[in-house]
Symmetry: C3
Subunit: 156 residues, 3 copies
Amino acid sequence: MATNQIISNRLNTLGIKLPPPSPPAASYVMATTMGPLVFLSGHIARKDGKPWVGKLGKDMDTDAGKSAARAIGIDLIATLQEHLGSLDRVKRIVKVMGLVNSTNEYTDQHLVINGCSELLFDVFGEAGVHARSAFGVAQIPLGSCVEIELIAEIHT
Amino acid sequence: MATNQIISNRLNTLGIKLPPPSPPAASYVMATTMGPLVFLSGHIARKDGKPWVGKLGKDMDTDAGKSAARAIGIDLIATLQEHLGSLDRVKRIVKVMGLVNSTNEYTDQHLVINGCSELLFDVFGEAGVHARSAFGVAQIPLGSCVEIELIAEIHT
Amino acid sequence: MATNQIISNRLNTLGIKLPPPSPPAASYVMATTMGPLVFLSGHIARKDGKPWVGKLGKDMDTDAGKSAARAIGIDLIATLQEHLGSLDRVKRIVKVMGLVNSTNEYTDQHLVINGCSELLFDVFGEAGVHARSAFGVAQIPLGSCVEIELIAEIHT
């Protein structure tokens, strides 16, 4: 079975249907390729196609933040598929940077971003395990609660 | 016409004269090369050679922030020229990370960083189109209103 | 003398004993390799094995922040040694991103992150000089005062 079928099957098993890729919010593109590296732009959390607005520690709890991070993970995979043509070109997920819209007191950013990290592992298996930074920011474009960017390695 | 002349002409047409490259604010360098990748350090916004101080949502509006981001774009190009010797070594702009000094309520970081993204497109054309993350941070060194780092691909 | 011995000697001269590598705080790994690049996850400041809690501009001064950044530098080197088997595989430090847990007014993030940058120079010499971004964030996982991620180039 080709890798792509494995990943398609995993997406099916997880009940995940990839959404239309996110459009850029401004003057840039959602992905660039440089040799074996793909750089994905920061994807903001969306719900029903609109920015998923909220600030952790104020009007959103860790579980909701984790759900938002998981939703971004799905959007990142949709962008990879759109950009690469097929997910079987993904060799591994190298690095994730996760930004959490946080009050000055909220300190569970790592648990929020786990929503994305666990999804990547569920979909890509060992190839989905990545290096990561997570931290709390003052705000995110359009008031979104979480923003995540990603670097992947591809087969060339 | 060599690429460098095209870019020089574009800079002239845009009325842009590259300033002296920004010095590092501390113990590091403004650029490193790793194979085909050039990593530029975070450049803070400057006005008349001094930090361009301000916080979006408090004492600075989106248009002023966008002007600051455009000024950083020019500084980034000046650093590329200094580091590479010639801008014709730039193959493309791969990735931009834009940090906006923001209140906890300001949510137009993407419009601010467009000031840099649009300048890169104006100067490099399609080779200037990049992946990007933009978000709001609590503060930036020396109180500067915007900070931008950049990854470029070069001809090797 | 092999590079590794030079680095070991420098660590000895500096009185630095590498600690056990930091464990990930969540669902990820502390380092990934992609060809000649090693991406280290964001390492949070720790003191006596526990998160080094504090916010610059509120309950921690610049000198203490700089010490925390230096401690992270040592942790980053410990992770490199663990991940690579030997520090002589490090060709150079390419890029550092330093996040400082800051109030909305604190503006000396660059001086804080110098604690790490200077340590990297002391240990690796010219090969330790890197590009860098430093900025202030609303919070860091577990309330830690500083978080630093790093990209290194390795001999392949």
